[in-house]
Symmetry: C2
């Protein structure tokens, strides 16, 4: 069934989200994505729903809910961002990796895909660990690139956990000190190339051998 | 009052979020941030709450809610990401702007701030408009950099709207074709410098003259 998206503004007080989910539950809509935050003393809610036969009726149902100031149709996040590649690291290495990822993604996007590349700047080891853990909170991540020069220990453990919970996420790391290279999918020397490869890995237009560590990439015809 | 954060895994079916918000409303907790998505046929919910006196009691309340598989304490997003600078654009210009932003942010982060820099790759005019509109859905954005070579018309209108709703967001654009330069806070020729300036603008350690278009930046002593 197709996914629809709406953006709401609400009064900011206790129970507002509950009032809205009460209404949506009553109407048998399935909330598959919600992003709620408070800005300028108003609640802002972005929601994606399934099970909506009549979109106008949905808008009407929501606008008749107490504390809802406005509701508008929206593009879905998948339409806007597509597949996500996240690059974690800092300094020149990370900037280079982002550069590679962006240039490659643009080429794919020109040919009809939607791939986005985000950077997460991290100062040091324990923060990187925190960031990797938080990956689990972010949806639609298809690849993660660790673009730093010294990672291991706790980070290695977090990557093992992440891969266990989300086997489909591709994890790429630069060649670096530490024991990380044993647990990631791919180790790449050049930081720009690491970004390029991350995008190739999530693209629908590039296929690769089952044993990814062989580094054998075959462009589809 | 302080903010606490939790991460939940739930069964994926209609009404689960409603069950949780029922419980939180009953206990008089205020939900100030929610991020819910579905992955591997499970619901994942990240929530930030205010009004929580007893964190262990909160964990207990949530874990006793139907359909909740697990609940764990988490760092808040503000602790992980801090202030956000978003760079929208594509190609070499955007890669350069990101490079400037990342290198500058790292310098600030080393000195105790937390500033993150994200890139949003956009193919063309109408998509940029969509992305700017979606800014409104993203919380904690402090600065937006438009790093492309041809923007105007609809995008200009979206920026006027964005600035009206969120006057505190700093908007920077490269010098480009179109009428965008009349509505942004700052026009910068060099793409790397645009990224650097975006981070300086949101930093607590750099102050600037009231009339930002004077381009007079004064480092605090």
């Amino acid at each position: 069934m197709s996914i629809v998206a709406v953006v709401l503004k609400t009064v900011e007080k206790i129970g507002v989200l509950n009032g809205i989910t009460d209404k949506l539950y009553e109407k048998n809509y399935n909330i598959i994505y919600t992003h709620l935050f408070v800005e300028n003393n108003q609640g802002r809610i972005y929601m994606e729903l399934m099970g909506v036969d009549d979109f106008d009726k949905l808008l009407e149902d929501i606008s008749n809910t107490p504390n809802v100031i406005s509701v508008e149709p929206s593009a879905t996040l998948d339409e806007i961002y597509g597949k996500r590649v996240i690059i974690v690291g800092d300094g020149k290495l990370m900037a280079d990796t982002l550069r590679g990822g962006i240039m490659e993604a643009q080429m794919h996007n020109t040919h009809g895909e939607t791939i986005s590349v985000d950077g997460m700047i991290i100062g040091g080891g324990s923060q990187i660990q925190e960031a990797v853990t938080s990956m689990d909170k972010l949806p639609r991540i298809h690849a993660l690139v660790l673009s730093g020069s010294m990672m291991g220990g706790l980070i290695t453990e977090e990557i093992i956990k992440l891969k266990k919970e989300n086997p489909s996420i591709k994890v790429i790391a630069l060649e670096m000190l530490g024991d990380l290279d044993n647990v990631v999918d791919l180790v790449i020397n050049d930081p720009v190339q690491a970004g390029i490869m991350a995008v190739k890995l999530v693209s629908e237009n590039v296929s690769y051998d089952e044993d990814i560590k062989d580094n054998t990439f075959l462009e589809k015809e």
